[in-house]
Every structure is written in C-alpha cells, then in structure tokens.
Symmetry: D2
Subunit: 309 residues, 4 copies
C-alpha cells in the first residue's frame, strides 16, 4: 500500500531571502528544487559528521567558469579531505595563480577568427594562447627539480608548493595537507609539458602509485561521503576505490547535466552505484540534474547557515 | 580584433548570503552561473521598467512541483501582465485551491502498483485519482452557468471567479485583472470535463477568439518583456504574437532544460527568435539551461532585493 | 532472485546491410540500440495487428527537417489511423504543398543578418518570410468558404481538401479519411491567419468539439497503439483520451530527446503513464532517447522488410 | 546576402532499404538526420583517404552495450590507426574474451536486490560480480611477466597478446599493430588489479610515456581524421595531441548526447576545437547529437556500401 504522507509545500520567496532560507523553502518541493534541497540536507549532515572522510570529485571546466574560489574555500574550510579532479581544472588553477586571467566571451563566437587572434574558447570563456607559453616557463624548471620517481599526487604537490597564491586550489590543498588525485593527468597541458620535458630529460611518474593512498583512506575511514561535480574520471575513480573494501559511501551527492540513458558513467544514477556496492544500501544519496555552476555554490552557501549556531 | 575586457571573477560564498548576493557574485562567472546572473539583471530591468508589458509563459508541471506560490506572488506583485500557460498547470492549481494536495513521491516507483492504489505519478509527485472526481464536482455545475459563446480566457475567468483561495494562480489573475491564455486547453482534465459536459449540453468555446486581445496588447505596448519557463505552446504563442506587429520583444529570458539540436521550438535559442523578428535585434535576451524549479525561484528572490531601496 | 538469461549479443555490420538487418542485429544490444530494436519489434507487431487502432503524435519541426514524405507514406500505407500534430507541422506541410521550399541552412547563422534578409531560421533550416505572404493568399479565401461553426479537425479537413499535392500530409489524411487533430492550432501561422480573418469576418472554431470523435475511437477500439514523436501537446492529448475509457494503450513507442528529470510531460516515461492508466499494465512500451529525425525513419524502414513476406 | 540554394529534400523509405540508402536519403534533410548524413560523407571520405591517419576515441560503456564486434571489425578493416579508449571498455572486452557474458537487464532494477545477488548494473546491462574474480585470475599472473618499466600502451599490448579471442578489441589491435592508449587506466578494474599486485610486488607504469608515440604520429601524418564516440578523456587526449604540432585534424566526427552549455569538454562543439587549432580551419567536421549505440553502427554500415565498387 503506497502511503501519501508528505504534501507538496509550495516554495515562497521573501524579501532579502538567504540561500539557506530558499533551500529550506525548497524542502517541500519536488523535481529539481526538491532534489537540491535534499542535496543541501545531505551536505549539511556530511559536513557536520566529524568521523566522515569527505571526497570531492571535480570534473568539467569549473575553474574557467569562475568556481575556483568556492573550491579553494571548501578546502580551507575542511569540507574536502580528498580531492580528485581533472588536469584541466589544475592547469587553469595554476594559470590564474600566475595572475593570468580567463575572460568572459561568448559561445556564439567565430572560432576561426578566435584562432587568428590566438584566443582559445571554452564555451563562453576566452583564454589567450600566450598564457600557455607562460605556464611552460613555470613548469619546465619545476620538472627538473623532481625526484627520480614519483606518483601523480606527488607531482602535483611539488607544483602546488611552488604556487604563490593563497587562492589557488592546488596550493590550498598543499597547505591543508589534502591529497590531489588526477588519474588522467596526461590529458591536459601539464601532460603536454611533461612530454616536452621528457624529450630531453627523464621523468618517471607512476600511473598506479596513488591508488594505495586513496584506498587506504577508504579502508581507514569510519564513514565516507562524496560530492561529485560533473562525473567523468573523478567520479568513477572515487567510487571504485570502495570496491576493494568492505565499505561503501554513506553520503553521496552528484551534480550533473549528463543523463542515464546513454549508459555512460557520468550520467549513471547513484542507485546504479548501489548495485556495485560503491554507494551503501542505506546511504543518503541524491543526484541534482542541473548546471553545477549554479547548484554547487547554492549547496555551499546553504551549508554556511549552520555556522551561525 | 577580438577584445578581452572582462576577466572572470570567481564567485565567493559568504556567511548567511542572500540569493541576491549570490547572483551578484555570479556576475563575473561563465557557463550557467553567468547566464543566470544575466537573467537576474534582465529581470530586474524588466520589472523596474514601468512601460514594459510583461508576458509570462509557464509550461511544465510547475504547480505539482511546488512553484504555485511563487507564480501567485509574481501575479499579485505585478511582475506579470499577461499569463500564458498549460491546462495542466491550471488543473493542478484548481485542485490545490480545493484543499486537495499533491504529495512527495519518488520517480523510482512501481507504476503498476501505483495504478492499483489509484495514485497518479508526475515524476516524483504523487496525486490521488480521487482528486479528479472532486474536480469534476466543481467544474460541471460551473460549466452550466457559462454564456452561449466564449473564449478560452473567458472560460478561465469564469472558473477563476469561483475559486475561493487567495493562493490560487487563476484566482490571483482574476483579482488582478490579468488575462490567462491557454491555447491547448483541451489537452488537460479541463478538456476532458468539457467533453463530458458536451455529451449532454452545449458549450461553445472559440479556439481563436483570444488572439485579438493578446495581439492588441502587443500593438499597444511601449516595450515588452517575456519570461519563458520550459518552452512548449506558451513560449511560441507569446513569441508569435509579435509577428503581426511592427514590434519585437525588448527583454527575453528563457529557463529550460530542452536543447536546440533537435530543432523543436522548446529548445530553440532566443537568437533564432531574432531571425523571425520575435525578439528584437538589440533586445537583452538570455537562456539559462538548468532546472526551472531552481532557477525561477532564484531569479524572483534575487529581484526582491531591490524592494529594499 | 535475479536471473541472467539473455547474454548481450554484439551487433555486426555486414556489406550492404538493410536497415531491417541492422535493427535485427541490435536485438542483442543494450542502451539506445537495444531500445530502438525493441521499438521496431513493437512497431512491427502494432502494424500487423489489424484490430489495433493506430495513433500518431507528431510534435517538433519534423516537416522542415525533411520528414514530410515519411509521414505522408505512413498515412497512405495505413500505418496511422488518427493523427495528432502541431500547427507548425501543418503550416510547413501546406507551404511545401504550394511548391515553396524550406532550405538547408546552419545553426551558426547570424540571426540579425537573417532578419535583414527576411529569412526565418528553424535550427539549421532557413525559410523565406515571403512564403507566409503566399500562405496568406491561400488561406484567406479558404476561410470565407467555411460553415458557421466547425471543429478544428473540420477546419483542417477543409484546408486539406484544397491542397493539390499528393505528398501533403494533410491532403493524404483527407484522402485516406484519417482525422487530423491539432489542439493548439492557434499557436501557429494558421492561428495568426484566423486572427486576421476574424478582424473583419466571423469564424467560430470550437476548441473542445474534436474530443468526442477522438474519445469515441478510443472506446470503440479493440486494441490501441501509439507512436509518439517528440512529446508536447500531441503526446498528452492522445494519452489522456484513454483516461475516460476503461481501456489503455496496448502498444506505445516514444521517440524523444527530452528527459524525465524536469518533470515535464514531454520527457515523462511511458511507465509514468501506466500509473495513470494511459498505458496498460501489460502493454509493450519503449522510449528511445535519440534524435527522432534518425529513429523514426529507421523504424519505418525496418518495418518494411515484412512487406516481402 | 544569405543565399538559399539547397532545398530540403524529404527522406523517403523504400522496401528493403539499405542503411547506405537511408543515409543517402537523409542527405537532403536537416536536424539530426542531416548531421548524420554529413557524418557518413565525412567518414566515407576519411576511410578512402589513404594518406589519412585515423584516430578513434571510444568512451562510454560501448562494449557492455554490444558494440564490441563493430569496433573490432573497424580495427581489422583498417578503419582505425590509433585507438584511445577508457579502462572500462578494455576491462569489459577482456571479460568477454574469457567467454564471460554481459546480460540484458533493465534500468528499472532494484539495485539493492542486485547487490544481494552479486550483480553489477550498467544502465540496462547486468554483469555478475564473479566475472571480476576470474579477471583477477587472468591479470595477476600476467602482471608478474612484465618488464621493470613500461608505458600504459605497452601494458595493454602485453595483456592483448595473452588474449585468445579473435573478436577482442585489444587482441585485434595487437594483431594489427595498432596502439591502444588509455590515459586514465587506473580508473578501471585494471587499475584495481594493478593496485592489488603492487601490494606485494613492484610495477612501474609511466603515466606520460605514451605521449611521445602519439604525438609523433601526429607530426608524421599527411592528413588526420578523428571519430569521437561519447567524449571524455579519449576525446581531449586525441585533440590536444595536435596542439604541439603545426597541424590540425582534417576530418572530425563526434557522436554524443552531451551538450555544449555546461562547458564540459565532452559536450564541446568541434567549432570550439577550431579556436584551439585542434580541428583545422577548413576541416570537415560534424557533431551528431544522438545515441552513439545507434549512430556509430549506422555510419559504419553506410560506409560499407562503397565496398561494392
């Protein structure tokens, strides 16, 4: 017998409403609003759970879009214990840390004209190609100081330690002692720079070495939670690390526009992850199908309210 | 020569942040956050423009999702001059006005079990079938009081006047003297009730009669703006009304998850509408590709800040 | 106990493969390929079921995209008994029937430039504005011949009878005695033409009159099947017609790119329709999430193979 | 002045139509049908261009979905010179090569029940967990035979050489001398197996070593073409390899359901890639927004027609 117990309560907008109040107002709603409200509740619970090891999977060009400060603050506020991200987000973080900007552009650009102007486009963000030349000047000397053999996370720590910008994601992670994993690091300008360096000098970065540390953290954790932005390699790399442990994630939030029906991992539901034992049978889990540049800030902003108490 | 003038400024979350402050923080961002911020700016400008006639196109099951109060408040706050919506939103509004609730359910329901329990599902909203029996009791007597011949908007006004709930969208529109257009009204339970009534008694509702009033408003307007939720018939019915005038919309905001590539009108860009002359050459226009149950409340909440000054 | 009985059989491409063979090859596949294969099987069964009344819901700009001939052939091949569509598809069908073409364009067009060239854009299709002037010349005299009072389907029949093009969808429906329903007809250029006509002369088209005929067909049918392209008003108008009968659809196929998570009717699953009793508890039903301009022709082409036997 | 030169020619279905004939029939269409037809034409040109080095980027769970044989045949038919894929596709290929099946399931499964039945779900595909135990038995001994230091592609070659199944993608690549790149190999069960092995024994797989070979191929190529399925790391890893050369891709086809508006690389348009110089200014390029399990087989099948001449 299906029970009808929770009537829809309609959201109400009030003057000078805080994001937290709006999220509370969404708690009686359905569709995206209801899911976002559920995500906020899970996030609040996860953040307040001191025995919970918090994973953050960051895919998509979130740094070019203007989400750098938010991720940096999450790290420094101890809302992230382990960061898994893409090479691209790190590259754009390092570029910004050198005082080099991304620019607001338009997706209706003439890309051939942009090419002639040496401007790279990321949807509606423009980036001067010369930034990459400056990145090269920074990274090449840095590669020459590396030990004979290291893991990807170790490489990133070396880079992070040479960053002179408190607002850098990578620097913040170094400062806070948070490991940064980036499985497909070759798939980025860092990868191209490593290729360039290896033309003339040795560099030995082990592809599998980081898994030990990541999986150890999964084994050791009392409880675990994960916030996934956009899917991709970070999503699966975090979730699969539970497969070899007797545990599974206790909290899980996914912010994505990808859809389940294509069968790809990015759009896969968190329920699917339960069949694998990646997400626990009784774990609180929700996917919000909406633009993550909107929903991530809202969740973080709505969490903050608790700081008052 | 492409100019790079506006560096991306990264959003920053502060304690107890208001929605308006978050939107302001998005103004330096790109992707969805940037577009939403642009939508807020257009909405603020449109609302403050006293010579602007404001159209609102409401498709999607926004009432079952919990957006009824927000639309009602927009009407009573004079943020809407002309409402075009679907039969479904009106049906669910009338149901709520009778004290009958929608309920939070789940999209992972067993629909055959729901059927046996006489519960109808709208994504993750549950609705008891018996509500429709009560709706029938309300509508049938009401049909018998109608004039010999009327337009769809006139039919809706007759219904709205019999609603005893200040929070009803339809009642609010009646109270404020705002016309409600619903081109595909037969495509709803109101349509089925009309069919039932016409089994035994005459009812003559003209399909085209409302166009005069709508197009007259377009002709008379000094400036026009439109906020489109979800696309569908309301979107095109509003936009096409400009085709026969020498004017075009001066402000346009579209909140949708539909995509342009399928060629359907719902996902069509507002730029496409410029080629038709529906949206003006120099009009401020933006589409936010994100769940409208999230973005509509945010825009309305961020607008409110201005009320303070 | 979950049983694993049907191993995935991988699709194989052979030389000069027919569409029917490819669809058969998909029968062992999953994701979109598996769903499309299932749709073909349902369609074959539905078409061969002589006691099945076949509904076709056609939304989206399928005529401008080049799908006119396919729909026309489906009608003349008796694969459609009842057609429900949008005003736009009919307008573009009538335009083509006058020897006026749609043109291949590009979605990366400069829409302001198009406006100055009097060219309307529908995604990557271009249409000269002057076609609408010619449409006006055809429709205005035709309106003056109409009876005092008629239904939308009757209006469309009157128009269809004046079309001199065997390839017209509307003319083909008239020739075959197939009713064409178009609930939101005002939401189209036909609507604007009716508005123009009504400036000076009376025209009384009843919004609800067609429901009787449609619902009678549902009552009378032994079995019913529906093929839905794109969702929108046609989808719901067909499905809801079952609500007032003790029956439900026995076969249902939906071809769409819309997604369920926004809660809109277009993206709603056919399972959701089971909770309402629109689609039967044991009905064969499948949704293919892929571009309908690709999947509709494939289904129709794969069906044809049976003609050989 | 915008010219209107190519009228839409409507697709026509004929009896026992081949896929190639259907694609030819799509050549006068727009939307998805038009784009797919364009993709077929580019693919035909690319395949026939003997001086073109052909890259294939394969993301998404295409092997579980039943696309293994098609990719295998593309390799053996020399339609692929360089394969970049995900660890998941390789894992599922190796599993199948051991005579272990994937099974047709349903996306409406009870995932907790599946977990209790030790069945993993990939959308509507079911996979017994015990397959991974058998994979472990195969991979662990194999790891012990590896050289002291190797690249990811070398690791994959070692595995491929031990596969005894002509239908394996990996084995076919080995047989044909085609390199297989997999940047995020740790993000897969192969990665977990490597982690397990490294608990007790050394294994040194260099993350960056493969870039040399890949980029050399880009430098050496007279012309280059790329077929991208689904986006992800394979897409960017292929495209970025051109950044350090003076060249760019001459042919590019992308099959995806991802959308541009989120700013992620998977959904990024191929025009965006022109601004970076990844795709050439005058390159023929098209993206088909439709399920790749449908469009990939269609393109390959339509290509085959040329074999007749």
């Amino acid at each position: 017998m299906v029970k009808l117990q929770r009537p829809i309560r309609h959201a109400k907008i009030t003057n000078d409403m805080t994001v937290a109040e709006l999220m509370d107002s969404f708690s009686g709603c359905a569709f995206g609003a209801g899911r976002l409200s559920e995500a906020v509740e899970i996030y609040r619970e996860m953040i307040c759970d001191e025995e919970c090891t918090k994973f953050f999977g960051l895919a998509g060009a979130m740094v070019p879009a203007g989400m750098r400060q938010i991720v940096r603050d999450m790290i420094r506020n101890r809302e992230i214990d382990i960061l898994v991200t893409t090479g691209a987000n790190l590259v754009h973080d390092i570029i910004e840390s050198m005082g080099l900007y991304h620019y607001k552009g338009t997706d209706a650009a003439d890309d051939v004209e942009l090419k002639f102007n040496a401007i790279n486009r990321i949807y509606d963000v423009f980036l001067p190609e010369e930034h990459f030349a400056k990145l090269e000047e920074k990274l090449q000397p840095l590669f020459s100081e590396l030990p004979d053999k290291l893991s990807i996370a170790e490489l990133l720590t070396h880079i992070g330690e040479k960053i002179d910008d408190e607002n850098s994601i990578l620097k913040s992670a170094c400062d806070m002692g948070i490991p940064v994993y980036c499985p497909a690091i070759q798939d980025s300008i860092i990868g191209l720079q490593a290729w360039l360096y290896k033309q003339t000098k040795p560099l030995n970065v082990d592809a599998f070495e980081d898994m030990r540390g990541l999986i150890d953290r999964c084994y050791e954790a009392t409880r675990t939670g994960v916030l996934i932005v956009g899917g991709g390699v970070p999503k699966n790399f975090i979730l699969q690390s539970m497969l070899v442990t007797p545990k599974s994630f206790d909290y899980a939030i996914q912010l994505t526009m990808d859809r389940p029906e294509t069968g790809g991992l990015s759009g896969a539901t968190l329920d699917e992850a339960r069949s694998w034992g990646k997400v626990g049978e009784n774990a609180r889990a929700v996917t919000v199908y909406s633009d993550a540049t909107i929903t991530l800030p809202m969740i973080v902003a709505a969490k903050n309210r608790r700081d008052l108490y």
